[in-house]
Assembly symmetry: C2
Homo-oligomer: 661 residues x 2
C-alpha cells in the first residue's frame, strides 16, 4: 500500500468518526472496517465523474448498509461531489444538512439510492444490473458500447440475513448478471453480539448455490487483495460476483474494535483520539484533511473526467451514425407523452361489455408498450393472472437481455426493490402481484415513495371478489395501508374508462408511485364514468335534485352497487348523488372549490361503500356518516356469494342511506 493510499483510507476513517462524534449519533463501526474496500473501489476500479454525477454510463455504487453513511459522505466530500464540504460533514445528521443519518436519493448528490432498511440496497442493485443488461442490449452497436457499466453494492451481515437479499441474489444468479459485484463487509458482529448467535450459515456456499463467483479477501486492510478481487469479479463474463471481505468492525479504535458497541453509537471523544493516534493522524484535530490527500483525490477524479470525455465523444459519433437510436435514447430519457396520450382516442377506447379491470389493464399495457419505449415489467410469478404480459416483446433472460417481460419468481419484496432499481435507471417499470401480497411489497413501496420514483404497482384480485381462494388471498386492509403512505397514489377503478384513467395517471406521474388496484371479476361499463376520474373523485351519477338528500361515495366494484341503490332510492323519493372515488390521494390535491362541488359540506348524510376495511373513510363521511364496508376478514366461497354474505347488497346500502337521513 502506498503512503498516500494508506493516508487516504485513514482520513476517510477519521472523517467518519468525527462526523459521528460531532453529531453524537450514528454508526462508526462500518466506516472504520470498510474504508479500505470503499477507497480501493472508488479510487481505482470505479468509473465515476464527480463533475457529472448523473453521467448515464457511470458505474453505480450502492451502500446497502446505509447506516454506514458517514463512509459514503466522506468519499463524496474527498472526490468533490456536489460541493459536499467539510461543513456538510460536520453537520452530519442535523436539520437541513446534506448529510442525513442514512443516504437519501435526491437529497445528496452522488447517492444512487436511499438505503437504511437492510437488504433494500441489494435488491435495488439487482434492478440496476438488470437495467444495464437491458439498455446495453437495446442501444449498443458494434464499436459503440455506450451502455457498459458495473453495479457495485456494499453490504454487511444484516443485509445478508434479510430475506430480500436471498430473493434478489437467487434471481441475479439465474439471470447471470455478471456486471453485478457484491462487496460483503464480513465482520461477524451485529447489534446483539457475535453473528454466531443467529447466523452461522456458510455464505460462500449459499452464493455458490445462487450461481455467483466467490472471491475471498482474508485481510480487509489489503488494498492490493481487494483490488485483485474486484478485477477478478469484473473479468467473469457469466456470473455475478460476491467478494467476501473479512474486516473488523470499528477497526483502529482500541476500545471498540471487534465489538458490537462499535456499531451504532459514537466512539466517545477519548476513543476518537485513540483511533487517530493508532492511525498516526493528529489526535486533536477534527475533520482534518491534509492538502496532499485532496490533491490525490483530485488527480483520480480528473482521470475519470477523461473517461467520460472519451465516452462523450463515442456517444456523439453514435448519434451521428444512428440517428434513429438517438431518437430512441431521447424517448427513454425524456419522454413526455402526457398531452398526446390524453387526446389519444385509441388509448381511451374499450369494448362496451362486462370485463375485469385486470383484463382491461392488460389491454392498456399492450397499448402502452408501443408508446412508451422504456416500459418494462413483470410479475412475481402471476403474469397469466395479473394480465401483465407484453405480447411479442420477449422474456428477459440470460439468453435474451432485450426481453421486456420480467419473471421475478415468487419474490414480491425483491421484485419491488428491483423495480426501484429499474426506475432509478430511468426505465418505466411496472411490477405486479395479487393485491393481498402488497403486504410483502410494502417495505420497498415505501422506498419508492421516499425516493419519488414513479414505479407502477399492478395489484390485481382486489377485495372479496377473489372468491374461493379465501381470506389469505382477500385484501381487506391493504387499501388503507397504501393510502396512508405519503407520496403514494392508490387508484381503484370501477370500469374500463377508470382503469385507463388510472394507467394514464400512473404512466405520466413524475414523482409519485401508483398502485392500480384491479378486480379479478367482471364489472359492467358504467354510463357515467369519464376522464373526470383523473380528478380522483367525481360525480358519476347525480341526484335529480339541486341539493342531494345524501351522497354515496364508492370505489371500484362497489360503484355499480352504489348506482343501483341510488336508482332504487329515487323510486322512494330519496335523491342521492353517487361519487366514484378511485383515488383519495388525487382527490385530496384538487382545488377546494372542486372538492366542495363534489362533496358539499352542507350534505352530511353520507355513506361510504367499499369492500374493504372502513379505516380512512371517516374523513369523507364524518361523524354522522355510515359505512357499508368489511368487518373482519373475508371467507372462501364464490365471489357472488361473498358479496351477498358480507352485506354488499342494494338492500344494505339503502338501509345505510336511510340511517343517516
Amino acid at each position: 500500500m502506498s503512503n498516500i493510499d494508506n493516508l487516504s483510507v485513514n482520513i476517510i476513517r477519521a472523517l467518519s468518526a468525527d462526523a459521528v462524534q460531532k453529531a453524537n449519533s450514528g454508526h462508526p463501526g462500518l466506516p472504520l472496517g470498510a474504508a479500505p474496500m470503499a477507497y480501493e473501489l472508488w479510487a481505482k476500479h470505479m468509473k465515476h465523474n464527480p463533475k457529472d454525477p448523473k453521467w448515464s454510463n457511470r458505474d453505480r455504487f450502492i451502500l446497502s448498509a446505509g447506516h454506514g453513511s458517514a463512509l459514503l459522505y466522506s468519499l463524496l466530500h474527498l472526490f468533490g461531489y456536489g460541493g459536499l464540504s467539510i461543513d456538510d460533514l460536520s453537520q452530519f445528521r442535523q436539520s437541513g444538512s446534506l448529510t442525513p443519518g442514512h443516504p437519501e436519493y435526491g437529497h445528496t448528490v452522488g447517492v444512487e439510492t436511499t438505503t437504511g432498511p437492510l437488504g433494500a440496497g441489494m435488491a435495488t442493485a439487482v434492478g440496476m444490473a438488470i437495467a444495464e443488461r437491458y439498455l446495453s442490449t437495446k442501444f449498443n452497436k458494434e464499436g459503440y458500447p455506450i451502455v457498459d457499466y458495473y453495479t457495485f453494492v456494499l453490504g454487511g451481515d444484516g443485509c445478508m440475513m434479510e430475506g430480500i437479499s436471498s430473493e434478489a441474489f437467487s434471481l441475479a444468479g439465474t439471470l447471470e448478471l455478471n456486471k453485478l459485484i457484491v462487496l460483503y463487509d464480513s465482520n461477524k458482529i451485529t447489534i446483539e453480539g457475535d453473528t454466531d448467535i443467529a447466523f452461522t450459515e456458510d455464505i460462500q456456499k449459499r452464493f455458490e448455490a445462487y450461481g455467483f463467483q466467490i472471491l475471498i479477501v482474508e485481510d480487509g486492510n489489503s488494498l492490493e487483495k481487494i483490488g485483485a478481487a474486484i478485477e477478478a469479479a469484473k473479468e467473469d463474463k457469466s456470473r455475478p460476483s460476491l467478494i467476501i471481505v473479512k474486516t473488523k468492525i470499528g477497526y483502529g479504535c482500541p476500545a471498540k474494535e471487534g465489538k458490537a458497541s462499535a456499531h451504532g453509537e459514537p466512539l466517545g471523544e477519548e476513543n476518537v483520539k485513540a483511533l487517530k493516534e493508532y492511525l498516526k493522524l493528529p489526535a486533536n484535530e477534527t475533520f482534518h484533511v491534509p492538502g496532499e490527500v485532496y490533491e490525490h483525490f483530485k488527480k483520480i477524479a480528473s482521470k475519470n473526467i477523461e473517461a467520460q470525455e472519451k465516452w462523450n465523444e463515442i456517444f456523439e459519433r453514435y448519434c451521428n451514425a444512428y440517428p434513429e437510436m438517438k431518437k430512441l435514447w431521447n424517448q427513454y430519457y425524456n419522454l413526455d407523452i402526457a398531452k398526446e396520450l390524453l387526446e389519444n382516442e385509441e388509448f381511451w377506447s374499450y369494448q362496451n361489455k362486462p370485463d375485469s379491470t385486470r383484463n382491461i389493464s392488460g389491454m392498456v399495457i399492450n397499448r402502452l408498450k408501443d408508446l412508451v419505449p422504456g416500459l418494462i415489467g413483470g410479475s412475481a410469478d402471476l403474469a397469466p393472472s395479473t394480465k401483465t404480459y407484453m405480447k411479442n416483446e420477449g422474456d428477459f433472460s440470460k439468453d435474451n437481455y432485450g426481453g421486456r417481460n420480467l419473471h421475478f419468481g415468487v419474490r414480491e419484496l425483491a421484485m419491488a426493490g428491483i423495480g426501484n432499481g429499474l426506475a432509478l435507471s430511468r426505465l418505466h417499470p411496472y411490477v405486479s402481484t395479487f393485491f393481498v401480497f402488497s403486504d410483502y411489497v410494502k417495505p420497498m413501496a415505501r422506498l419508492s415513495s421516499l425516493m419519488k420514483l414513479p414505479l407502477i404497482y399492478v395489484l390485481t384480485h382486489d377485495s372479496i371478489g377473489v372468491g374461493e381462494d379465501g381470506p389469505t388471498h382477500e385484501p381487506i386492509e391493504q387499501l388503507a395501508m397504501l393510502r396512508s403512505q405519503p407520496n403514494f397514489t392508490v387508484f381503484r377503478p370501477a370500469d374500463a374508462t377508470e382503469t385507463i384513467a388510472g394507467w394514464y395517471h400512473a404512466i405520466t406521474s413524475q414523482k409519485t408511485p401508483t398502485a392500480l388496484v384491479l378486480s379479478r371479476q367482471n364489472l359492467p361499463q358504467l354510463l357515467g364514468s369519464s376522464k373526470a376520474a383523473l380528478k380522483g373523485g367525481y360525480i358519476i351519477a347525480e341526484a335529480a335534485k339541486d341539493v342531494p338528500d345524501a351522497i354515496i361515495i364508492a370505489s371500484g366494484s362497489e360503484v355499480e352497487l352504489a348506482i343501483k341503490s341510488k336508482e332504487q332510492l329515487e323510486k322512494e323519493g330519496i335523491y342521492v348523488r353517487v361519487v366514484s372515488m378511485p383515488s383519495m390521494e388525487i382527490f385530496e390535491v384538487q382545488s377546494k372549490e372542486y372538492k366542495e362541488s363534489v362533496l358539499p359540506k352542507g350534505v352530511r348524510a353520507r355513506v361510504a361503500v367499499e369492500a374493504a376495511a372502513e379505516f380512512g373513510w371517516g374523513k369523507y363521511v364524518g361523524i354522522d356518516g355510515a359505512y357499508v364496508t368489511m368487518q373482519g376478514f373475508g371467507a372462501s366461497a364464490p365471489a357472488a356469494d361473498l358479496f351477498e354474505e358480507f352485506g354488499f347488497t342494494t338492500e344494505n346500502v339503502i338501509a345505510a342511506v336511510k340511517s343517516v337521513l
Copy 2:
C-alpha cells in the same frame, strides 16, 4: 409398494381432483404430485391421533404450499379427523364449508396453521420446532420424554423462492433444530412456466449452507424411498433435514402432467376421468372411496391411538412423580392471570420521572417473566435498543434450548412467522423490532390476526422521535397500516401507566395480537393517566366547563403536547378536553354510552394530534375537525428539532383548536 398403499395414494389423488373439479376452482397440481409423500408420512411416520387432534405431543404437519389444501382435506377425511365427511370434501371452497380454499387454523380440525401466502408455513414450522426444543428442555425428566415430537413441513418451489424461508431456515440451521423436517415438492413448475425462468439456484447447496442434512428422493412415487428418507431425517440428531422429493405436477393426468396449467385450475371433467383411468380407478365415480381404504386408514389411526394412550400413561406417572412440574404445565397451558394482574400493585408501579416507553416496557417484561412462565421472546437483532431482553433467563441457542431470549437475527418477517409458530405451540411469545420495520413484519402479522393468536409485537422507536436516523427509520403511516388490520390491536402509550396498561392488555388478550408502539425518547409521567387507558380512549385532562369548547384527541408522545396546549388555551378562556387515545381498536369496542361520554356527538370542534399520518383520524374529528399530524416523511435531525420543524408545538395545536371553534 403394497396394493393398499398404492390404492390409498390414488384415492387421495382422485378425491383431490374431484374436490377441485366440483368447486370448479382450486389447485389440483400439487395433490397429484405430492400425494405419495403425504400419504407415506401420515400413514407410517407421523405420530398423530385423529381422535385427539390437540394432543400436545403429536407430530406437527404443515402444508406450507397451502394452495394444495385438497390434499390435506383428503388426508383428514380418510383418517377421520373431526368428522370431515365426503360431503365436506364435495363442498370444497363453498360458503360455510369446512374445506376453504386454503387451510385455515381454527376452522378445520387438524389444520395446524393457516397457510396460503407462500413461505409462511416454513417460518411457522421453525417456530414450532423451536417451541418443541424449548418445552422439552423445560419439562422432560429422565425417563419421561413428555415433549418429544417432530415438525414436518411440506412446501414447493414458491415457498423456496420467498425470502421468508431463507430467513427461517438459516436460523433453523444455526439453532440445529434437528426435529424439523422439510419435504420439498420439487416439480420445477410455477405459474409462469418452468422454474428455470427465475429459479435455477442449487437448492441442495443452499440448504447445506444453512447446515441442513439433505436427502434426495429421485422418484416421488416411491413410498419406500420417501419413507427411508423420512427415517434418515429423524435419525439426524444435530441438523434439520431437507428431503428433496422430485415429483411431477399434475401426476397421472395425461393432458396436464408436468405443465403449469396443472397448478391452479380444475383439470376439466374429461381430464379427471382420464386421470382415474390412468390410476385404475372407476372413471365415472366421483368422491369414491372403497371400503378397504377406509379400513386401512382406521387401522393406522388405531395404532396412533395406542401411541397416545401410552403417552397418557407416562404423563400421568410424570405428574405424580413431579407435582411441581404438573403445576407448571398447567400454568403454561391454562394461565389465567387477568384478575390477579389487574390488582397487582407492584406490576402497576413505576418511578415518577421522565422515561421512554420502550424502557418502561423493558421493565414490565422483566416483571412478567416471573408471572407468565410461558413468556418467551426476542428481537430481530435489536434487543439492546428495543429493551426486550429478559434478565437472567438465558439465550435460546443450540447449547441452551431452555433460554427464554430468542435471537432472530436481522430477519423481521421470519421472526413474526416464528412467533406465530410459538403461539400455536401455546407459549406466550413476543417479538420485537423498530416500529418502522413493522412494514417487513406485516404479512405474518396478518396471519396472527387471521389465526386469532395473541402474539405480542413490541415496536419501539415510534414517530419522528427516532430523530437522527431519519426518514427510512421514522414510522409515519405504520399506525394506520396496523390499525386498519382486522382483529389486531395497536396500543401507543403516553407514559408509564399507559405502557403498563398496554402490556396488561397484550398479555391477557386471548384471541387478538397486540402491537405496543413505544417511544425512543423520554416522556414525562402524566398526572391524569390511569388504568382507564384499558378502555382505549379516556379523558386524561378535563375542561373546566360542563360542555367543553373543543376536544383534542392525541396518543403517545403527543398527549403531553395536547395537555400543555389545553392549559394555555384555558388562560385565554377556551376550555378544552384532552382525550388520550392509546388504542382506537379498544375504544371502538366500548359501550356506546362510554364512547359518547368521552367524545360527545355535540362537540364538533375536535383536533387530532399525532406525529403520524392523519389517515384514519377522520372518524373522530369528522368533517369539521382539524389535524396536527405528519405530512410526508420525516427527516434526519435531533428529535426535538424535528417535532418543532414538523409543527408539533403548542402554538400550532392552539391554532388548530381555534380554527375549528
